[in-house]
């Protein structure tokens, strides 16, 4: 394999690993603030219990997010030097503002939020919690501005192959930014909702009947049930926006080869890029036209429009975009079904969490990580759908790649992958371990120095 493909795999692996944790911390910060405020208002200790448990998950996720994020910021230089050389005048200030307005804020106040509970007044602790949540959201804002700009560049001009900013307002509020930001923030909310519901269901199933677990199970399901319809609506808007700016991506998402009217909505198929057709297609007549143009005989672009005279393919690889889009939407549908079923049953039986049947709880446990699946699938759709461009219409991925020997990239890629597998296993393991510990009623916020209660293993 050559440096280009290896670098792409490496970047994809690193950012996929990174995004897992921001997705959790962005929304979990706000949920923690919610728990804290509920506790201050009601004085009910179940909210404090919920806070205590989830702040641990937050701390762990945050650390994973920080270290993988540092990797990201070096990747530009080590693997994609062409990126900064060409569009550094635009990407640079955006990244700088992210560091200045977001990273420092969250990193500094995290210390106070985690360890300052008994050292600072209550209001300062709550403020610190707020600032951490605000900081993570700000960093999502800046990075998504940059990412959206890469998909729908605006507010710049090219001089000697280098992009120069002409209008910062147009750069920041580029055409796809509002959709992408909203979609991502909602994705983060959903990920956290199902993580909370899933881990709480797990605690419930192994016998935890504390008020804390009831509160979190209900909170998780409620947030999920509220956000998922909004997300589906936003997703639709996002798709329409993409249709306008990156029609070749939508054509790949829909698996549609020929431009035309009355295009069916393909539910499943095996896209065959050699033959330029779908095999084993299952489709709803007129569906795609209806969804994308809101009329059954609307025109939907096809992939064959994006092949040059000489046969050069100008659209992204079809199969990965097509499949990952279906995985995301499928997961979204599963979320809708489950969270509404859960809330419906609770309201119908009027017994709160007790009203949830066991099978539902059993399904909720693996759904704890459904948000990750949907988020990754969504990003693969978006990013692979932009290929061969790195910055749509401005810079191709190939132009940006570094001139380092392929074995270097390959060896570091393997090292990163090994670390990621180990850490991901450890992370998920520890979440369930913490849940079991909490379910057994073991105090999770211990006052004993950590190693005295440990059975100090021989070192």
């Amino acid at each position: 394999m050559d440096t280009l493909i290896l670098s792409r795999i490496q970047f994809g692996a690193n950012i996929s690993f990174h995004i897992l944790f921001p997705t959790i911390t962005i929304a979990l910060g706000w949920v923690l603030l919610f728990f804290k405020l509920r506790f201050s208002m009601t004085g009910n200790t179940k909210w404090m219990e919920a806070y205590r448990f989830w702040v641990k998950v937050f701390a762990l996720s945050f650390a994973m997010g920080v270290v993988s994020g540092i990797t990201m910021s070096f990747q530009f230089g080590t693997n994609w030097p062409g990126f900064m050389e060409a569009v550094g005048n635009i990407a640079g200030p955006l990244l700088a503002y992210e560091v200045l307005t977001a990273f420092f804020l969250e990193a500094v106040f995290l210390g106070i939020m985690l360890f300052g509970f008994s050292k600072v007044p209550g209001w300062l602790h709550t403020t610190a919690t707020f600032l951490v949540a605000f900081g993570t959201t700000m960093s999502a804002f800046w990075i998504l501005v940059l990412n959206s700009w890469m998909h729908t560049p605006a507010g710049f001009e090219m001089r000697d192959g280098v992009a120069h900013a002409t209008d910062w307002f147009a750069i920041i509020f580029n055409p796809s930014m509002p959709y992408r930001l909203a979609h991502m923030l909602l994705a983060s909310g959903l990920t956290v909702a199902f993580l909370i519901a899933g881990l709480s269901a797990y605690r419930w199933l192994i016998g935890d009947r504390s008020d804390g677990v009831r509160a979190t199970l209900r909170t998780g399901l409620t947030i999920g049930a509220l956000l998922i319809p909004v997300q589906i609506f936003m997703g639709d808007l996002h798709g329409l926006n993409t249709l306008e700016h990156q029609p070749q991506k939508v054509a790949a998402m829909e698996g549609n080869w020929e431009t035309g009217t009355n295009i069916p909505l393909v539910l499943f198929a095996i896209p065959d890029e050699e033959a330029r057709e779908n095999r084993m297609e299952i489709a709803i007549p007129n569906g795609a036209s209806l969804i994308l143009t809101h009329s059954t005989d609307g025109i939907v672009p096809g992939l064959n429009n994006f092949v040059a005279e000489d046969g050069t393919v100008l659209h992204p690889p079809v199969a990965p975009v097509f499949y990952s889009f279906r995985i995301m939407v499928g997961t979204g549908m599963a979320m809708l079904l489950l969270s509404w079923a859960g809330i419906g049953l609770m309201m119908y039986k009027r017994r709160g969490v007790e009203g949830l049947p066991k099978p539902l709880l059993y399904i909720l446990v693996p759904m704890a990580f459904s948000g990750w699946v949907a988020t990754l699938a969504g990003w693969y759709t978006t990013e692979i759908g932009r290929q061969p461009w790195l910055v749509q219409g401005v810079l191709t991925t190939k132009q940006a790649v570094a001139d380092v020997p392929a074995p270097f990239v390959a060896s570091t890629l393997i090292a990163f992958l090994v670390i990621y597998v180990v850490l991901l296993t450890a992370y998920i393991g520890v979440l369930f371990y913490l849940a079991r510990k909490a379910a057994k009623g073991e105090p999770i916020g211990t006052r004993v120095p950590q190693s005295q209660q440990a059975m100090v293993p021989a070192e």
Binding site: G77, G88, F104, F109, F115, V162, A415, G445
Partner: protein
């Protein structure tokens, strides 16, 4: 035409200074918490917890200075950014893996099942070592002009060891402030062991730089510039002697002067840094690319500068707040 003169002339200097400042802050701040990690194997399990507690609330913000430094390199000198980082591809990767290991080990060692704790302690130590060694290696390579030959490689390996020992020294001086009793005594001992790393490191770099580059040689040994430079080695030497004397008397009964070795090592790092900055100016890629040639467009730099003027003081203020909240001897870390 311009109120403050031509921005294409002074903006690169301002950004080089900002980048230098954040590298310096990073080296001092993350230096002490990396150093604490390097010292890990010498401590008992109980002491390990206290050592972690002494850096727990700070390490994340400390590392953010690295992100800022690399961010400034990337935004202000995009051309240099690519050249430097691709030349340092492997050490950067090793550093990143080290940073990943130690960052997560912080959390895992306290949250994972207790029989895994020893492994996470080991990961914390290994990560700190990988990070320090690779940073030292990169420093050496940079001084050698980013050219790979056996000699430059050997020199970079030397600076790798010296910087690691130097970090363990500043880490030990931090522990002298933040701990008491047994552990403080140990920290004094560690500091005495670590200071040679700094001295030898500074010596090696001072010897090697003028040999490698005739430009640096001229800068150092031609009259009258030499007079300008003379205070640097003299002050450093005096400080090392003072630190040594202080370490012999520490810890004192009322804990007075516990801050001195740390403060002195901050000054030492700063002096060394200025020495380097003086030698390399105006180059950002040694002998190849000056800050003027590598700078990005003035409009973009302006946008960042304006933000920086407002945000940097704020960052410094709330960083100070955090250090005030967690001042005093480190107690065990809990979430309540």
């Amino acid at each position: 035409m311009y109120t403050f003169g031509d921005p294409a002339l002074w903006l690169p200097i301002v950004f080089a200074a900002l980048m230098g400042l954040s590298i310096l802050i990073y080296v001092v701040l993350d230096g002490f918490d990396l150093g604490v990690g390097v010292l890990f194997p010498f401590a008992t399990p109980d002491e390990k917890d206290r050592m972690i507690a002494s850096i727990g609330p700070f390490w994340d913000a400390n590392e953010t200075w690295l992100v800022l430094a690399i961010g400034l390199l990337l935004v202000a000198f995009p051309a240099a950014h690519g050249t430097i980082l691709t030349a340092l591809y492997l050490p950067v990767a090793i550093m990143l893996i080290g940073l990943i290991l130690r960052g997560v080990a912080f959390e895992f060692r306290a949250k994972a099942p207790t029989n895994h704790k020893a492994s996470w302690n080991f990961a914390f130590f290994t990560g700190s070592m990988m990070t320090s060694l690779s940073q030292g290696f990169m420093l050496g390579m940079y001084i050698m002009g980013l050219e790979y030959t056996w000699a430059t490689f050997a020199f970079a390996c030397l600076t790798a060891v010296f910087l690691t020992v130097g970090y363990s020294f500043i880490g030990a001086t931090w522990l002298i402030i933040k701990t008491d009793e047994e552990l403080q005594l140990k920290a004094v001992k560690w500091a005495k062991g670590g200071i040679w790393g700094l001295v030898l490191g500074l010596g090696a770099i001072s010897l090697a730089s003028p040999i490698v580059s005739s430009r640096i040689f001229d800068k150092w040994f031609s009259f009258p510039e030499a007079i300008l430079l003379a205070p640097l080695p003299l002050m450093s030497g005096a400080l090392v002697v003072l630190v040594w004397l202080a370490l012999k008397r520490l810890p004192t009964k009322d804990d007075s002067w516990a801050w001195f070795p740390f403060a002195a090592s901050v000054v030492l790092f700063t002096l060394a840094f200025f020495g380097l900055a003086y030698s390399f100016y105006p180059y950002v890629v040694p002998e190849k690319l000056t800050i003027y040639e590598a700078a990005s467009a003035p409009e973009s730099l302006f946008i960042i500068l304006i933000g920086t003027c407002f945000v940097l003081p704020t960052i410094i203020a709330y960083t100070a707040l955090a250090y005030t909240v967690f001042r005093g001897k480190a107690t065990e870390l809990t979430y309540d």
